[in-house]
């Protein structure tokens, strides 16, 4: 290893990180639609000349897409030239998460030498298909989820080249909001082209061959960081299974996910072949999506500080069965894979934890889903649709309680403030609070989920997308399961209806809609949780006095003080 390359690789790492950071800001700032600017559901990356992601930007989710996307460009075109622009939204053809996402790829050159790629993925407000917004919970075929644009070269010749009018015409004829679409697309294309120019400049400054050496070294270092840790893990095999409530179409049929982990030496295999066949509803996962979940789990256990890069592909292999959930083969719909993503991470962690002492976590509360409320009497058209992303909780780990009230794992989205919702829509939020006893008990307890109670001040139609109405977050190592999600409506006449956790509900003025997320699983035997910690949980409202006694064997008296003698007795009895 020479001086130049260790230093040059670190310089390249820093500059790639910073350049992608700058480009990401440009993408946010130039975005035309509020969706792209505020939800920030967009990313950009700079990749090696072989399509490898080199640094942990943008992280595991979109990060795992770029490899499929750029590899497909390399496979399909042997005449890449400066000025080329490629576009696609195709989940199968090019590894895009779902159809509303447009991907743009621009190769970067120094002279005639390809030095790498600039590529971006950004959610569009609509990409055609059977419903506005394209991704539908009701889709049974990919065709319903939008216009399909296979990987296509849309410009050639120069950095200012016009986009292919034929292809643009087809898009314009298929999307519902063409102004918004093309506004966003132009911004995305502009920033992606800037990315290619920056990468060319970096290669020129560093030297093309030196930069190639740097890319190789960055990937080698990432690989070594993972292998060094995994080599210390015991070899072995573990299988776990879990379920989604349904595929969203066949509501009575749970969907089975099976994960087998095999650790051998310094590499790991995840075998997903035991999972169900692909489903009619849109919970199927394209390869990139399942990759993101599996890689997130491995990186979290082995090298959380290193983050994601395509090095992980050298160390982790994923086995899938054609025609199944994770390798669907007939253009099956994929638009609602978020709940599947959380479940797959849950199971990967559980399986790793069975083999590697202290690794992973109990199951999370899963995706908290979304709640969309269409108000009948809002004063303005277009502003009457209230939309929120709700959170659940993280599972407990071997030395800490689970985190409460978050969107689990790598989703990490914010919540809309009550004051903002009430200022904009005819709604009042009467309760927003963590749910006592929602967490699975354990030596370390799971995270608590939360409850929102919405009082309708006008007639409304609610669309709730969610799950974990049937299968709770599993506790591990003797920890208990978390609570189930619920939805109920208290009508203004006092009757209470308990409803499925996903579906459509109608509200009348002063009806109260209560949504409860599912709590996360616990880790280890709850009777080993120190009694004073359980007392603190009771005082904080996380655990009830009843659950303290029943699940933890901790007796709390009516002054909310610890009954030490009672606790000793209860815990002794439990041990017998």
């Amino acid at each position: 290893m020479t001086t130049a390359t260790v230093l040059a690789a670190e310089l390249a790492r820093s500059r790639l990180n910073a350049t992608i950071g700058e480009l990401t800001q440009l993408l946010y700032r130039s975005a035309y639609s509020t969706l792209m600017r505020e939800s920030r559901d967009c990313s950009i990356s700079l990749l090696s000349d072989r399509g490898e992601a080199l640094v942990d930007r943008p992280g595991p989710f979109h990060g795992s897409s770029y490899n499929y996307l750029v590899k497909r460009v390399l496979e399909r075109y042997d005449d890449l030239a400066p000025g080329d622009v490629f576009m696609t939204n195709h989940p199968y053809d090019a590894g895009i998460p779902h159809t509303p996402d447009l991907a743009v790829v621009v190769p970067a050159f120094v002279g005639d030498t390809l030095v790498g790629f600039s590529a971006s993925i950004a959610h569009k407000s609509d990409f055609g298909g059977s419903v506005i917004g394209s991704a539908s919970m009701d889709a049974t075929q990919l065709y319903q989820e939008g216009l399909l644009l296979p990987l296509t070269r849309v410009a050639r010749g120069s950095a200012e080249a016009e986009l292919d009018p034929g292809v643009m015409g087809i898009i314009a004829a298929n999307v519902r909001t063409p102004d918004l679409f093309f506004g966003d697309m132009r911004a995305q294309l502009g920033v992606t082209r800037v990315g290619a120019a920056r990468l060319s400049a970096l290669a020129e400054r560093t030297g093309v061959e030196v930069l190639r050496g740097c890319f190789a070294m960055l990937l080698d270092q990432g690989e070594r960081a993972l292998r060094d840790v995994i080599a210390g893990w015991p070899d072995g095999e573990a299988t776990v299974t879990g379920f989604l409530d349904s595929d969203g179409i066949r509501l009575d049929t749970p969907v089975k996910i099976a994960v087998t982990v095999r650790i051998a030496g310094d590499s790991v295999e995840f075998d997903l072949t035991g999972s169900d066949d692909q489903t009619l509803g849109p919970v199927n996962m394209t390869k990139m999506y399942a990759d993101s979940a599996v890689f997130y789990a491995v990186i979290s256990c082995a090298a959380p500080d290193f983050g994601f890069s395509d090095s992980v592909r050298r160390v982790v292999t994923i086995k899938r069965r054609p025609g199944s959930l994770f390798d669907p083969n007939t253009l099956a719909p994929v638009g609602a894979a978020t709940s599947m993503q959380h479940r797959l991470v849950d199971l990967c962690f559980e399986a790793l934890g069975m083999l590697v002492p202290g690794a992973g976590s109990a199951h999370s509360g899963g995706s908290g889903g979304t709640v969309g409320i269409e108000w009948a009497s809002a004063e303005q058209r277009g502003r009457s649709f209230q939309y929120e992303v709700l959170g659940t909780a993280m599972g407990a780990v071997h030395d800490s309680d689970g985190v409460s009230g978050v969107t689990a794992y790598y989703t990490n989205l914010g919540i809309t403030p009550v004051e903002v919702l009430e200022s904009q829509y005819p709604v009042r939020i009467n309760r927003f609070e963590l749910i006592t006893d929602s967490a699975g008990a354990g030596r370390y307890r799971g995270g608590l989920s939360y409850r929102r109670e919405y009082e309708a001040l006008a007639p409304a139609s609610v669309r709730r997308r969610s799950e974990r109405g049937r299968f709770p977050a599993r506790g591990v190592a003797g920890g208990h399961d978390g609570s189930l999600a619920t939805v109920s409506i208290r009508r203004s006449d006092g009757t209470v209806e308990r409803l499925p956790v996903a579906g459509r509900y109608e509200l009348h003025p002063h009806d109260l809609l209560t949504i409860e997320g599912s709590g996360a699983g616990g880790y280890g035997d709850p009777r080993e949780r120190p009694a004073d910690v359980v007392l603190a949980d009771v005082r904080a409202g996380a655990v009830s006095v009843q659950a303290a006694a029943a699940e933890y064997g901790v007796v709390i008296d009516e002054r909310i003080e610890l009954d030490e003698a009672g606790t000793r007795l209860a815990r002794q009895e439990a041990r017998r």
Binding site: S30, T34, R37, S400, P417, V420, A540
Partner: protein, 692 residues
């Protein structure tokens, strides 16, 4: 001038308390340093005043016109969590606002333990008050007074002395918060009660609660400190109404405003904000208006941007992991300083930062047990620092220890020479800083092309040219007192206080009178507050500003009412201004969309007299003996760099790089290709002549 001859700026840092004394007769500034007294920093401040009396010719405390103060007391207490627990009262049913915060996990999302930032209030110190105000400001449910009485009893049992009250929609109707305060005044006498309807009447409950918790936690100790400092200073003859504290917005407030309550949340950037003000003032005298200020200390670097002579500001931000929604200078902190650690990893990487050796044990060269090399060690190993002249020779450092640490932890594991290892460390540190600045600039839409980099802090000027080169910045300015910059900045600052009120107003035809009524009411509040602090109504200037957005959008832009072109049709004029501003920042505007005002702001300013400071008394151009050139390792080889003492440089001098310019509190380095010029105010102006 007699009684009012002097202005004094005192900035309390971690190690030193810096005192800048301005003689209003001559415009001369003298700087002195005394040790900070962490247990009670007011002792160090008073020591500084005594020291000034001893060494500054003609100085008499009784003749001080203004005492201007910057402190990190609240910031330090927040970092070290040395404050008494406070209690929080929220609307019944809304406890989730505290436990869920904004739902986001912070830190590394691969780390399953990463969650919300630690709350400043314990779960069993949060109480729910039965009451409800609606979005339309109407009372939905009356306050249950009996329930508040019970809460007060419990607070007494818990011995709580500071209570934050943050009820839903209190910014629209404060009646319930006010009733709660009345009840607590009777039931919990002696406790400090702060109301969100007074401290921050702004929409969005979690950031408001977060800001209130910061205030309720920090205010008692700030008030104790200000009380004890005021006692000491007035005891020595200073007038109470001429004592001022620096705020995070870059303005001053009198001590009396602190004592009135609600201002602690405005002091968290008190020290660094003064530094930015100093940069603006000094650069103005040098004719520079677009700046990048880089203040590098032992563990971290503070970065700020100045555009057209004004520091960029934010009205919401995050400090030490806590959301805080008050106007603040827009500072970014990077983990890169003189104590930044550097070492080779087992995966064959060279890792520089963000961890730091801190003050204890400090760099390896201090010989206090530090093993891992720092950037200061690398500086010493390469000849950039003179071991005989560290802190002006007041501190002994050992080059051999620096080289040894670099050899063991970088050079040997990577199989390279210690010089190359040290230079790699420095280069990476510079690139890390430049890269962080680039991303920050992109986030704020700042073009650094014509900016001047103002280097301050002890460790700022040695690598300023390296960072500038990496950024494509061609001008660097090193002020005369880079190590006591904040104290100098205090001398140049006006009284600035911000007031805010949320009231959502859609910019439709006919909204004009409602807008003006809101401003008038808020302005009345601002003027009343400043009058109470002792300012003459005639000297208070109120600037009208507002936060606006496209109706339903998730964030706002801050606008100045004065920038509206058409005041006859105010709603249309404001909407036009918003579209223009939106287009400037985001590249496009949606002219068909309805615009709404979310919050009204008044910025009340009382101008302080300004001075063109002459920091270099002519006699200070001492006839120091010329220093021999020093061997410096640069870009892979040893070169000879000229060495000069800053005090020996007369205004107008020009020096070609490579040259090292030494002064007790810092060393500046102009690499080959750079030229140094000294201006009339004693600033070093380094420029890249582009011969590299």
């Amino acid at each position: 001038m007699g009684r009012n001859r002097w202005r004094v700026g005192v900035d309390v840092g971690g190690t030193f308390t810096d005192v800048a004394v301005l003689d209003r007769q001559t415009s001369r500034v003298e700087i002195l340093k005394v040790p900070t007294t962490p247990a009670d920093p007011s002792i160090g401040v008073l020591n500084g005043m005594s020291r000034a009396q001893e060494v500054v010719e003609g100085f008499d405390i009784a003749d001080v016109a203004d005492f201007l103060h910057g402190t990190t007391i609240t910031t330090n207490a927040l970092i070290q969590r040395t404050f008494r627990p406070c209690a929080l009262l929220v609307t019944e049913g809304m406890r989730g606002s505290v436990s869920v915060q904004d739902q986001r996990r912070v830190g590394n999302t691969y780390d399953l333990r990463s969650g919300h930032p630690d709350s400043l209030v314990a779960d069993d110190h949060v109480f729910e008050v039965p009451e409800r105000i609606g979005a339309d400001a109407k009372v939905v449910r009356d306050l249950d007074r009996g329930a508040v009485v019970s809460i007060a009893r419990r607070l007494r049992e818990l011995d709580v002395r500071s209570v934050a009250v943050c009820l839903i929609f209190s910014f629209a109707n404060p009646v319930h918060e006010q009733q709660v305060r009345e009840i607590l005044a009777t039931e919990l006498p002696g406790a400090r009660v702060s109301l969100s309807s007074e401290v921050l009447p702004r929409i969005r409950e979690w950031p408001r609660i977060s800001t209130m918790l910061l205030g309720a936690s920090l205010e008692p100790l700030l008030i104790d400190y200000i009380t004890s400092l005021a006692t000491g200073l007035t005891g020595r003859g200073l007038a109470y109404d001429r004592l001022f504290l620096m705020e995070s917005n870059g303005g001053l407030m009198p001590f009396s405003a602190v004592m009135a309550g609600g201002r602690a949340v405005h002091t968290l950037l008190s020290g660094p904000a003064a530094g930015v003000q100093a940069a603006i003032s000094i650069a103005r005298s040098a004719g520079r208006r677009d700046l990048l200020t880089v203040d590098v200390g032992g563990t971290s670097a503070d970065i700020a941007f100045v555009r057209h002579g004004e520091a960029l500001e934010v009205t919401e931000g995050e400090l030490v992991g806590h959301q805080i929604y008050v106007p603040m200078l827009d500072l970014m902190t990077i983990g890169a300083g003189g104590g930044t650690l550097s070492q080779a990893t087992t995966t064959g990487r060279l890792l520089v930062g963000p961890n730091s050796a801190g003050a204890d044990p400090g760099p390896a060269c201090y010989g206090r047990g530090g093993q891992i090399p720092t950037t200061t060690d690398a500086d010493l190993a390469l000849g950039l620092l003179d071991p005989e002249y560290y802190l002006g020779g007041q501190m002994t450092v050992r080059q051999s220890l620096a080289v040894e640490a670099i050899t063991r932890h970088i050079a040997e594991p990577l199989g390279i020479s210690p010089q190359d290892a040290a230079e790699a460390t420095l280069q990476l540190n510079e690139v890390h800083m430049a890269d962080a600045i680039k991303v920050f600039a992109a986030k704020r839409g700042v073009d650094l092309g014509d900016a001047t980099l103002v280097a301050c802090g002890g460790a700022g000027s040695l690598h300023a040219c390296g960072v500038a080169t990496e950024l494509g910045v061609r001008q660097v300015l090193v002020p005369p007192f880079p190590g006591a910059f904040s104290a100098v900045g205090l001398l140049t600052t006006d009284v600035i206080q911000d007031f805010v009120q949320t009231d959502i107003t859609k910019l439709r035809e006919g909204a004009g009178p409602a807008i003006l009524t809101q401003f008038a009411a808020l302005e009345q509040r601002a003027v009343a507050s400043l009058s109470e602090q002792g300012f003459d109504r005639a000297e208070i200037v109120c600037h009208r500003e507002l936060d606006a957005r496209y109706s339903g959008q998730g964030f706002e832009l801050r606008l100045q009412l004065a920038d509206v072109a058409d005041h006859d049709d105010l709603p249309a004029g404001l909407a036009d201004l918003f579209h223009t501003e939106h287009a400037r920042i985001y590249g496009h505007a949606a002219h068909a969309e309805l615009v709404e005002v979310v919050s009204y702001r008044i910025r009340a300013v009382v101008a302080m007299p300004t001075y063109t400071m002459t920091p270099l008394p002519p006699e200070a151009i001492a006839d120091e003996a010329p220093r021999p050139p020093r061997r410096v390792y640069h870009r892979g080889g040893w070169i000879d760099a000229a060495v000069v003492r800053r005090a020996a440089l007369a205004p107008g001098s020009r020096l070609p790089g490579p040259v090292l310019i030494e002064q007790p509190d810092t060393t500046a380095f102009a690499p080959p290709g750079w030229t140094v010029r000294i201006d009339a105010y004693g600033n070093l102006l380094l420029s890249n002549e582009g011969t590299q």
